[in-house]
């Protein structure tokens, strides 16, 4: 009998692993927000409040509701639209930014909780007209098609190289595993990450 006709709706092992993976990734974000919450003054909002962010070394004084995510603050208020919104719930990595040296899913981080932290977006990587070596590698290897996942992948790869300057294949696969590409650039992202790390994995 054709199986799709009468689908087994039980959660497969694969679903289960994926779910665990997602919550595992979210933990880092939660830990950071907890610290902030303790330091925050009484109740804020729901109306707009002043929020001061340091993005790519520049101060931004924003007037936003406390519920606004870091991603929306950066894209819609600071008008830096390089990082993308794709799932808006911490499962695809398109919004990946580096906050105080750690990658975060900016869609699942509140802007107000990143005050006083160093926020890096994809716009902050190039030095004037010179691309960051990771960006260069993505261009050399054609590690992009439509390019919508690319800023997130580039940020995750920058964080990878900062953590493991000469990554092993396993380190690359592990560190970039939180990003999704629908066009299917993965093989070339692997090559680009290897090039950026000055390693040759054949």
């Amino acid at each position: 009998m054709a199986q799709n006709e009468d689908d087994v709706s039980a959660v497969s092992r694969r679903d289960f692993f994926k779910t665990v993976g997602v919550s595992g990734l979210a933990t880092g974000v939660l830990a950071a927000t907890e610290q902030q919450a303790q330091a925050a003054p009484g109740t804020l909002g729901p109306g707009p409040v002043p929020v001061r962010l340091t993005i790519n070394g520049r101060p931004y004084n924003l007037h936003i509701e406390p519920r606004v995510t870091l991603l929306d603050a950066v894209r819609d208020h600071a008008l830096l639209t390089g990082n993308k919104r794709v799932c808006d719930r911490g499962t695809c990595g398109a919004c990946t930014m580096i906050v105080d040296g750690r990658t975060v899913y900016a869609c699942s981080t509140l802007a107000i909780e990143t005050q006083g932290k160093k926020i890096r977006t994809v716009e902050g990587l190039a030095n004037g007209g010179t691309l960051h070596p990771v960006q260069e590698a993505f261009c050399d290897k054609d590690a992009m098609m439509c390019g919508f996942c690319t800023p997130g992948f580039v940020m995750a790869t920058v964080a990878l190289i900062e953590k493991f300057p000469h990554p092993t294949p396993a380190q690359i696969r592990h560190e970039l595993n939180g990003n999704v590409c629908r066009c299917g650039t993965f093989n070339r992202v692997l090559e680009a990450a290897a090039q950026a790390g000055g390693v040759n994995h054949g």
């Binding site: 039980a10 691309l131 960006q135 261009c139 439509c146 390019g147 919508f148 800023p151 629908r182």
Partner: protein
């Protein structure tokens, strides 16, 4: 796509090369070309990696509002009342819109009913929740089986099913009688959604009676036409812009609600309006690949010739759309018969998805081929070679199978089910694909300006395939200038018409027009320069941007040469002409997998993809298309599945955590062999490589374990069930 070819009347003899095509025939690459067919980095790579590329999602206009749709939560219902009163009072709300009127029916969860516009996205969402819609729920079906069941009440006005085209070739009954073996099985593939990373949407802004729409689309010109029609305004008053877009895969051809709603709300509010669907809306209401069920009977002769084929097929394209697919696929059955039924369910409608129909037909046929090969005790590759159409430039499977077998190490493949002793079993599978491609809808404008700038304007769009780079390469290579000299302008209806980017038609549609326009521009330039360079234009050439007399003598830098144009630039237009492009491609793929027989997890270890697409314009980006096709087919094989709850009619995984997609850790080693066929002209490569991987994987699982997987996706529970059945000697 059909829409596209309709807009361009076919030439008298579509295959007869035009005079221009002969005159500006492709230089046979890559040895003799400067960049054509070489590995060229995409020209917009730096913009994409730096965040400078502006997608529709990134457009922010002064005073811009955000729109949000209100959608049916029911799979089938009648709208009784729409009450906007609370929503209108909500903070920041500037406009509301009824998309459907009371009395109308919603046919699936996610069907649009209304929309609101507010000064922020959050306010728009808040207000959307306050729109009160009263429904009278109606009977529904979200299963093909129940819609097909005559006992199910009529849900759709035209009936719950619609018979598709039937085929009947040869004498099927006699052929079955003569067959040494007759085999029966049922195959099926699931519905998957496009999951474009940039969701559908648009930013619309009116200036007087003129509308500018930034739309994430695969066809700016088509969207202009449809948008103008929907708004009942002249096409001349609409400009559609799409500089960059984040994936479409067939779902972004038409001007749907994601475009018309913001246009209408912008009109009523007098402000620019942006609407971008969220992930759930994207899953529910922006298209999908239909399901495909095939109940097949096949007959083979004792010496392994396919003689008879009979199939009953059905599938769903949603609430009123078809689900056609080719069957049998590629392999020849002299006598064949098929009846097809389109089945409607209360779920979002299908839209073309990367190689529409082919992955489905390929799966049923290729898995069947492996089962038949075992029946006649032949190697599956030998069996395929025996049943292929005759080899031709557009039918190269036999050659590719042989090349691939050698490269992949097919001789190390073990017999079915002998994939090892422990719980990890390995196996190999093969599969083939075909696609039409080609395209005729392209116009190009080439300017050579007195300061040395070259501007090439083509109203196509880049859906990720590298169209901007293709425009640049063809123009630069034809003119003899470096790629950096050419500024390629695309993605705007103010540019010359080009068709929608669907069906792998873009490169073949635009390249001939650019080739001829650039060739004519070069000729015009040399004629103007001749008096300064010895008087004979035919003795001049342009090499790497230098204009020189052939065989030595006077020469000029590109800049100095163009300066001689004075006030009047070279400006040339040309349309597509026959003779520089073609249709029909072939490819084959090999896959090796490891199956964990304890967990049911399938891991793809390596894939070899051999693919032709006529003349390769850019080897680097063409290879990317193949990599992408393979990954997308792995998703189809192992992960993706749109799950609908039969009791509530709801999609249970309208997100990206339970709607599974491969991540980088799932990716096998992929080897791509592009077969360049410059003599055939340009064809296109977007779809074919995504067709065969899934079937090759299913066959590899069968080879590894002996268990046949006739149902996609190969989720662990299915693999385990098939292994159980195999062990018990049952057919899964």
């Amino acid at each position: 796509m059909a829409e596209e070819t309709m807009q361009q009347p076919p030439a008298a003899n579509p295959n007869e090369p035009s005079a221009n095509a002969k005159k500006y025939a492709w230089t046979v690459p890559p040895a003799k070309t400067a960049i054509l067919s070489h590995r060229v980095e995409r020209v917009d790579g730096p913009a994409k990696v730096s965040g400078a590329a502006r997608y529709t999602y990134d457009i922010n206009r002064p005073g811009m509002l955000w729109a949000r749709a209100i959608r049916s939560p029911h799979p089938h219902a009648k709208i009784v009342e729409i009450d906007f009163s609370a929503a209108k009072q909500a903070p920041g709300v500037r406009g509301v819109l009824a998309w459907k009127d009371p009395g109308a029916e919603v046919m699936y969860q996610g069907d649009v009913v209304a929309a609101v516009a507010a000064d922020s996205e959050d306010h728009a969402r808040d207000a959307a929740r306050l729109v009160k819609i009263t429904y009278e729920t109606l009977p529904f079906s979200v299963r093909e089986a129940s819609s097909k069941d005559p006992a199910t009440p009529k849900i759709f006005a035209t009936g719950n099913t619609r018979p598709g085209q039937a085929t009947d070739v040869g004498d099927v009954a006699a052929a079955f009688k003569s067959a040494a073996h007759v085999y029966e099985a049922t195959y099926d593939t699931q519905v998957i959604t496009h999951v474009c990373l940039e969701t559908h949407g648009a930013v619309c802004e009116w200036t007087g009676d003129k509308l500018t729409a930034w739309v994430t689309t695969q066809g700016v010109h088509g969207v202009r036409q449809q948008l103008a029609a929907a708004l009942k305004i002249p096409e001349a008053n609409v400009r559609v812009i799409c500089e960059y877009m984040g994936g479409g895969f067939g779902s972004k051809i038409a001007a749907d609600a994601s475009v018309v709603i913001p246009a209408r709300l912008a009109l009523v509010t007098g402000a620019p309006v942006k609407m971008m669907f969220d992930r759930k809306e994207e899953h529910l209401d922006t298209g999908n690949r239909p399901s495909a069920f095939s109940k097949v009977r096949a007959g083979v002769s004792a010496d392994g010739k396919c003689v008879a084929f009979e199939a009953e097929t059905w599938g769903t394209g949603g609430a009123g759309q078809g689900a056609q697919f080719p069957l049998p696929y590629i392999y020849q059955f002299a006598n064949r018969k098929r009846a097809h039924l389109d089945v409607y369910i209360n779920a979002g409608n299908q839209r073309p998805m990367r190689a529409p129909g082919h992955p489905q037909g390929c799966f049923a046929t290729e898995v069947l081929m492996d089962e038949l090969a075992d029946l006649v005790k032949m190697d599956p590759l030998e069996f395929r070679l025996k049943n292929l159409p005759p080899t031709a430039p557009d039918a190269m499977w036999g050659e590719y199978f042989k090349i691939g077998a050698k490269k992949f190490g097919w001789d190390k493949r073990r017999a079915t089910g002998e994939g090892g002793k422990g719980h990890l079993r390995t196996g190999m599978g093969v599969s083939a694909c075909q696609w039409g491609g080609g395209g005729r809808a392209g116009n190009a404008h080439v300017d050579i300006l007195p300061d040395g700038s070259v501007v090439v304007k083509v109203g196509t769009q880049d859906i990720g395939t590298g169209a901007r780079t293709v425009v640049g390469i063809v123009a630069a290579d034809t003119l003899g200038v470096p790629l950096s000299t050419v500024k390629a302008q695309i993605g705007d209806t103010d540019l010359p018409f080009a068709g929608a980017s669907g069906g792998s038609t873009t490169t073949a549609g635009i390249s001939p027009a650019i080739r001829i326009a650039a060739g004519r521009a070069k000729e015009a330039l040399l004629a103007r320069l001749a008096p300064s360079l010895g008087g004979d234009a035919s003795k001049l050439e342009i090499v790497n941007g230098r204009v020189q007399v052939k065989g030595g003598g006077k020469s000029l830098t590109w800049k100095a040469a163009c300066k001689l144009l004075g006030q009047e630039p070279i400006s040339i237009d040309n349309a597509w002409e026959p003779g520089l492009s073609s249709v029909n491609t072939s490819g084959v793929q090999f896959a090796e997998v490891t199956v964990d027989t304890e967990t049911g997890i399938v891991k793809v270890d390596r894939v070899l993809a051999i693919q032709d697409c006529g003349l390769v314009i850019d080897t680097l980006t063409a290879e990317s298309q193949v990599y992408g096709g393979v990954i997308s087919s792995i998703n189809f094989a192992l992960f993706e599945d749109r799950l609908l709850d039969r009791r509530t009619g709801q999609m249970v995984n309208p997100n990206m955590e339970h709607y599974l997609l491969a991540s980088i850790a799932d990716v096998p080693k992929v080897e791509v062999m592009l077969m360049n066929m410059p003599e055939r002209g340009v064809i296109g490569i977007g779809e074919p490589p995504t067709v065969p991987t899934a079937s090759a994987i299913a066959n590899a699982v069968r080879n590894a374990t002996g268990a046949t997987l006739r149902s996609l996706p190969l989720h662990p529970h299915r693999v385990l069930a098939a292994l159980e059945a195999h062990k018990a000697g049952r057919k899964a």
